[in-house]
């Protein structure tokens, strides 16, 4: 990937410095344990899982007196008994119940309770949670960037692009020339370019946003298995829709295979068909979540030892892992797009049997 950096050396060092500073800010924002019990152990596991999981509120910081500063996101529920409900999540934030809904202690999801407090059902949850809000923010960013870019291309034809367009254009040309055309072929690739570009930039922007530690970034979108499941599912659907007759013939009547072997071959081929998008889903999810867990664990080291000198050791490690994670962000977006193009190309290929 020949990504020519457009920024100068000064900007690069300013970026590094800001990463260090925000890591310090992030590390000093959880003094909740200070007041109550200075000898209480820091629950690192809970801290990490809280930051990886989705939630109905966007927790920004906890003040010294234990009060939480958070953005409470809307909750949209559809219950079989009582229909559509819409309220802000601070009504059910700290274990209290509202309109017969509360957050269950065991599963962390919203359940419906009757007057005695027993669970009577689970409503359909369409809430804007942290992941959804971050995804919408990323989608708006992408729309803004690319619509502006498209318009500037249609206004100034035949002018060398400058500035941000000059940063994005090599990436788009790279996706077309190195990913789409070699894998799908130069007759058919144009139909799939919009999807490949969308997948690449959606995954990239969400990965990068997940690494920035302050509000409104820092939500774990691509590390949510539901999000990667949908991405892999869309790739799967597009692959199957663009499958030629040869593609289906290879699965159900593999040429050169005697008939009595087909009862074994067909399940094997079907498993192979489903395992490829499954691997796409797991690869993206696990890479991004593992990266976030590593960064959070290294920062938690400071709180486990409760000593300032640990931060001199831990923050450089966090910085190093952050830079590695930026590489992983690009790489995972690239690999997802490459494999999607590969699968589409394999399905859409016209075989010329000699």
């Amino acid at each position: 990937m020949n990504l020519v950096p457009v920024f100068s050396k000064q900007l690069f060092f300013a970026l590094l410095l800001s990463l260090v500073i925000t890591n310090y800010v992030m590390a000093s924002d959880h003094p909740g344990q200070k007041e109550n019990a200075a000898n209480e152990k820091f629950a690192a596991g809970e801290f990490i899982i809280d930051h990886i999981k989705d939630s109905h509120e966007w927790h920004i910081l906890t003040k010294n007196n234990g009060e939480a500063v958070a953005v409470y996101l809307p909750v949209i529920l559809y219950s079989q008994n009582t229909g559509l409900h819409f309220f802000i999540s601070n009504k059910i934030a700290h274990g209290q119940h509202f309109n017969s809904f509360k957050i269950s202690e065991e599963t962390g999801k919203i359940i419906e309770i009757n007057e005695n407090g027993e669970e009577i059902g689970i409503p359909l949850d369409f809430s804007i949670t942290k992941t959804v809000a971050a995804m919408l923010l990323a989608a708006l960013t992408i729309l803004f960037l690319f619509i502006r870019m498209g318009r500037s291309y249609s206004h100034n034809k035949n002018i060398v692009p400058k500035g941000f367009n000059g940063f994005l254009e090599p990436m788009i040309v790279f996706i077309r020339d190195e990913i789409a055309i070699p894998n799908i072929g130069h007759h058919k690739y144009e139909r799939f370019m919009p999807y490949l570009l969308t997948a690449f930039f959606f995954i990239l922007i969400n990965n990068i946003m997940g690494l920035i530690p302050f509000f409104p970034f820092g939500a774990n979108v691509t590390g949510n298995i539901a999000v990667t499941l949908v991405l892999a599912l869309i790739t799967f659907i597009i692959t199957q829709i663009s499958g030629t007759k040869d593609h289906w013939k290879h699965i159900f009547a593999t040429p050169g295979v005697p008939v009595w072997l087909l009862p074994i071959m067909i399940p094997v081929e079907l498993m192979g068909l489903f395992s490829k998008p499954f691997a796409l889903m797991i690869r993206l999810f696990a890479n991004i979540t593992a990266g976030h867990i590593i960064v959070l664990s290294l920062v938690s080291l400071i709180f486990i030892f409760k000593a300032l000198w640990v931060s001199a050791v831990s923050i450089p490690m966090v910085l190093f892992i952050d830079i590695l994670e930026i590489l992983v962000a690009f790489l995972q977006a690239y690999v997802f797009t490459l494999l999607s193009a590969l699968f589409i190309g394999l399905a859409a290929k016209e075989h010329h049997h000699a």
């Binding site: 691997a279 690869r283 999810f285 696990a286 890479n287 790489l331 690239y334 690999v335």
Partner: protein
């Protein structure tokens, strides 16, 4: 006990990933040494193979996390 076994499983997955990616890196270095003008081709393919192997290793990590 399940927690420790899960950690051991994740560690084994890390060994597998380390061996695989180490071999790829080593052979990529050999290939670059034999033919220095193919550096960017070799580098691209090395990164792709490394990402695929890491995908498999992270399968195991995810299973360990669930356990």
């Amino acid at each position: 006990m399940t927690g420790t076994l899960a950690a051991v499983g994740a560690g084994l997955a890390a060994i597998g990933a380390g061996i695989g990616i180490g071999r790829i890196g080593g052979q990529a270095m050999d290939a670059i040494a034999r033919q220095p003008e193919a550096v960017s081709l070799i580098q691209t393919n090395m990164i792709i193979a490394a990402a695929l192997i890491e995908g498999v290793a992270l399968f195991a990590v995810v299973v360990a996390l669930i356990a």
